[in-house]
Symmetry: C2
Subunit: 282 residues, 2 copies
Amino acid sequence: MEVVKEITKMKKISKIWKKEGYKISFVPTMGFLHEAHLSLIRKAKELGDKTVVSIFVNPLQFGPKEDFKEYPRDLERDLALLEKEEVDVVFVPKTEEMYPSDFQTYVEVTKLTTGLCGAFRPGHFKGVTTVVLKLFNIINPDIAIFGEKDYQQLQVVRQMVKDLNLDIEIIAHPTVREKDGLAMSSRNIYLSSEERESASTLYKALLLAQELIKDGERNSQNLKKKLEDFIHSFPFTKVQYIEFVDPLTLEPVEKIEKPVVCALAVFVGKARLIDNMLINPE
Amino acid sequence: MEVVKEITKMKKISKIWKKEGYKISFVPTMGFLHEAHLSLIRKAKELGDKTVVSIFVNPLQFGPKEDFKEYPRDLERDLALLEKEEVDVVFVPKTEEMYPSDFQTYVEVTKLTTGLCGAFRPGHFKGVTTVVLKLFNIINPDIAIFGEKDYQQLQVVRQMVKDLNLDIEIIAHPTVREKDGLAMSSRNIYLSSEERESASTLYKALLLAQELIKDGERNSQNLKKKLEDFIHSFPFTKVQYIEFVDPLTLEPVEKIEKPVVCALAVFVGKARLIDNMLINPE
């Protein structure tokens, strides 16, 4: 496993691989790896000949009041985990090289980023698409793997790839959960043990939504109310949003007649957690 | 010479060329080709093994009150000219394929686009960088040639290439002029024969700036005033801007002590013409 810090070196490696006809698969991460990352990486290894994992806590996707500074980091532990997975290259670029002082080019997907997390995190997805496009251009992958936990991000990246005519296959990987259903996330480390108990409410709320819909509830306003009450019955919780959206356009759905994605963001203590589920009313 | 209309077909051709190790050079145009385009294309042929010229009047870079509809088009004549130049591929994409109805991804260079034409054409450079990035991704060139007449565009594209980590060499080609100095432009066709006589004032004003600076004038406000008066002494002219800017940052220069670019935009009748010159005070 090679750890690469320089953009030019990463490009050189990719160029050689391409010339030799290898299929490059890529998993972008912000590090502090957990089991869900590793399952994305195993998928990547399965689908490609050469696997690149990037570790970069991208300042551009954090708002001024968000947790960029606190975001957990542990490069040594990450590299040990990646070594075990037999990743070919770990790309760990420096912030100053990714964003030199005269940096001024941004990529933005518009419609898909107006709702859900986009409504509460202005600039977040612009930061995501900008860094993802840079990483794509540096690594030149054939395949990139994204987790379904960040469902809006997944759709936004897919739209960017389509709109900008990139030749990269975007693979979605199912959300990996703890035993009690909590979606794995590096931010779960922010939870105290008491908060941790409440954190599984996101998944339980999604299961409740599924059940209510199966039982015939079709009105998303009613569903939202029930889910919110359910979540707030757990201590330390504060719902940011609960939405039922079209799986492709991410537009809100009032009356549920086709498969919808139920997506939610909930503060549990200071940790902002998100989760989602595709629910089919049939 | 092959005329390609489909994005997938263009990609396929480029992929084959790349595999065979050819160096692809690319000249993006909006068609209605003139001698300046042809000189860019000859440069492209000289620098690369395979040459692609695109013809696409990009709606995204025209403002709602600008001349998208009137912009001159003559594909048949263009193709005949390109055939003579022995271009390998002419890429003529359809608007509906470049911008399908759900298109929503935009690329923006910020600082460099605030002044000069960017100040008077909101959204113009966003349209330029978006289409140029799409064309780059479709054609995958090693080299792309841009004319110096559109100096701000040239710098904006260079910045995008650098910021997004693209592996494309951007080549600047000197402005090609008519006998009286008028910079060649497809928009010159808008000029009546009387207006045409006034149109050379842009170049004459640049020569005047050069002369005044050589003679010791260092204050750009004084220079602007003199140039504006000079231009307005010709009938049908209306100055939009005259600026002295740093050649790299495009920031306005008050006191001219290093090489500057003098850039101007002038309406001659309904035609909006631009021109520029690098002037060294030494």
